[in-house]
Symmetry: C2
Subunit: 466 residues, 2 copies
């Protein structure tokens, strides 16, 4: 048990225990009441907008000093501003959108009649208590709270310290809104310091899942310091492979979009792999298009040599085309830089990607069905794409309605994670038999029963009532 | 990277890297070839039976000395013996049974048309490289190898040191069998020491999941020492709650079976919770039946007082009925001992179970549908049962054909885990469009495309070939 004491004399254990108790008490609360809680949060946000903007201004003023002192980037500063553009309205709309999504809990995914009058149901249910650690953007507090409430999970949230004034008030809004429902106000709590996070990471008896959203080092640091399962969101080192049979037009469009649509995103391409038989055909056309888009190319010897014949020579050739070093192929550039290499076969492309990519999303451009199949089966990544930009790897584009994040692990949830990444399942077994059901009646001996194992079709558990 | 050196000059990294490479190379191998590998293992086991029995005898002789010196229990000794009863034949049959199960990979669980000619498939696939740590029984090497190969996962196996001679030979059998297939012989490897386990737990770049089967302390120790996700199999602290409306016959049968069918199992009941309104009706009948089965009862004051009126007094009353201490309700007895308490309502039973049980399996005996529904929704356990013995919580009884184990976690797999607990999924996206598909064409502006998100019905991915 942690003995770190927190402001107001409550401990990490107080926070975790009260949140877990709120979770357990909430299991009999209806789906409609959870949706009502989200509408109440929106209503309370609208009622408190002026105060929230004042708090946000305090965060921005403190941040401005940091920016001027060179201790904070201007991009981080911009992310703090809740009044910028449509951010406030988007946040409100997001709450309503999540409220209107289908309930991810209560869905039967396996049902079987084990014996006459003995029915087994595997049914989706909340995981329990989540600890979510995220970046500076203050609106994430509202996003994550909405996702947690919708999926029936309690949550403890820790945002970036730069937005503490804003998140403190957003947290109060959530608690006020919850107090108008039958959900306990300790169901969603926020914390402010790393010391609190450290203390909470010890409490695996209360916390069921940690979701860190941020850098690789944040995720690894948390994995190193807890027994609680971690669903991490880290690197994206995505690649596009141009197969021997690649269509030149598709190759140009897919590579350009994968690299330049939003270079700072984790689903942007960082590496281009070119089949050696198209070094003098497809590759020069793709390279010209990339250079026209001001992309810097880090090339291995064959791909570099192939460009020496480019005519006319692009004006930015000398500044934008460089020989690569081996570390180029394990670097997430997150900018207009692309590492390029040549390989002799699709099998080599698969091996190269499995050895170098971060298993996020990788694409093949090909007209050969056998190559497409081999690539999709052989590449060990969350997304394997054919003739489509790596940028499609996204919860909204996949049609999940919302996105909890993109999981770079492969346990529980992989790739873009929708609401169903926040549920687990439980088994409900009901005997309708006259005498109940006992195991001792089944077996190999004389007079013993055998299991039927007849699959039942059911979308919900018939004997549950709200 | 680990620098511990192993016998034969190979390192933990050599083992893990070669196993992961074998996994990646196996992705293009057909389901039929994986089944063939299992048949080859059975054939090689049959051909090598005499040598294996000689090795097993060596383990048994060494163990006999430990038993005589009081350093090993006789129950552990018995588990080492591969020649005992039908164990050998069961092991062989188990390999064939797993070979004949449906392939858990390649199954589409979500399919959507994102746009004309742009199809998304979520398809089940192996997790990767497993590290499985288990108890002394040597046949588990073969069981786990069969499950791993069937589900397309590579595995590193560590059994109890007491069975090292036997498992070394079983491991050789597996490698010989694999050498007659297109699966690499480094796909399944065994290790023998805890130092090797420690070194492997650092290698999260190669190992995707650790499965420890054993005590709570083993599971926690591993969770404390690795960043790799852990699917643990630990405690079972199961309870039966006799509701106010419980049928007396069902109560007697379900409690007896839950407690006495196999008291050492993790799904046996350890706690009995009695509604206070049936203390003088149902409870005495259940208590008499339990005492007749030689069950020791540790009772709180109300349940103890209620038994003072038992007539005639059971002969073993004074030896078998004792007042309970608070720790009785958090103890996994694993023997013919049952902790008993009274509560005033189903809501209190739910709260008590959520606070004290290990979230494994809990049962309500009731005739009241509302109580059954509240219990199944409110109890936060992997199994919530109505009028059925807790002993039904088992992969074979649930109809999974085989059991990887019973997961006490709630991430990825929960409760009895079949083959599908050893798979994850990946997303395959294919553009059949004339120009491929790029994200830049979608959006809010004029001339931009909107996503269709039309659900497709598909059981397998249409463009994959074996």
């Amino acid at each position: 048990m942690s003995s770190i004491s927190f402001p107001g004399d409550y401990t990490a254990e107080d926070i975790a225990k009260s949140a877990k108790t709120a979770f357990q008490a909430s299991q009999l609360i209806s789906s409609a009441e959870r949706a009502k809680a989200l509408h109440e949060i929106r209503r309370e946000l609208e009622a408190t907008k002026d105060d929230i903007m004042v708090a946000n201004k305090k965060d921005l003023e403190a941040a401005q000093i940091e920016v001027e002192a060179g201790r904070m980037s201007s991009s981080l500063f911009k992310r703090l501003d809740l009044g910028k553009g449509e951010k406030w309205d988007s946040m409100l709309q997001g709450v309503t959108d999540v409220a209107n999504l289908p309930d991810p809990t209560g869905i039967v995914t396996y049902a079987s009649e084990l014996d006459d009058s003995l029915e087994l149901y595997r049914v989706s249910c909340p995981i329990g208590l989540l600890l979510v650690i995220f970046e500076a953007r203050p609106e994430v507090v509202i996003n994550i709270a909405a996702l947690a409430i919708k999926s029936g999970n309690a949550a403890i949230l820790k945002g970036g310290k730069e937005s503490n004034e804003t998140t403190r008030l957003l947290s109060k809004v959530i608690q006020t809104a919850l107090s108008r429902t039958s959900i306990s106000s300790t169901y969603i709590q926020t914390i402010q310091t790393r010391a609190e996070v450290s203390a909470l990471l010890e409490l695996d008896q209360y916390i069921d899942l940690v979701i860190p959203r941020g850098s690789n080092s944040l995720v690894r640091n948390i994995q190193n310091n807890t027994r609680i399962p971690v669903m991490g969101h880290a690197d994206g080192l995505c690649s596009v492979y141009l197969d021997e049979s690649a269509d030149i037009g598709k190759a140009m469009r897919v590579v350009l979009d994968s690299k330049t649509d939003y270079p700072a995103a984790c689903n942007a391409a960082e590496t281009l792999i070119v089949h050696e038989n198209i070094l003098s055909t497809v590759w020069p056309a793709v390279a010209k298009a990339l250079l026209a888009a001001e992309v810097n190319l880090l090339c291995d010897t064959p791909t570099l040599t192939a460009l020496s014949a480019l005519s006319p020579v692009p004006t930015n050739f000398t500044t934008h085309v460089q020989p690569s070093t081996p570390d180029a192929y394990t670097t997430e550039h997150l900018s207009l830089t692309l590492s390029v290499l040549a390989i002799p076969s699709v099998a080599d492309a698969i091996r190269f990607i499995n050895a170098h990519s971060s298993h996020h999303t990788d694409c093949i451009v090909t007209e050969d069905p056998a190559a497409a199949s081999a690539f999709c089966r052989g590449v060990d990544s969350a997304g394997t794409f054919v003739n489509a930009s790596t940028r499609f790897a996204d919860g909204f584009r996949y049609g999940f309605g919302t996105e909890v994040g993109i999981s770079t692990g492969r346990i529980h949830a992989r790739g873009p994670v929708g609401l169903e990444g926040l549920v687990t399942y439980k088994y409900m077994l009901r005997s309708k038999g006259e005498n109940g059901h006992i195991v001792g009646e089944f077996g190999a001996g004389e007079g013993k029963k055998q299991f039927k194992h007849t699959r039942l079709s059911a979308e919900t558990v018939p004997f549950l009532t709200e």
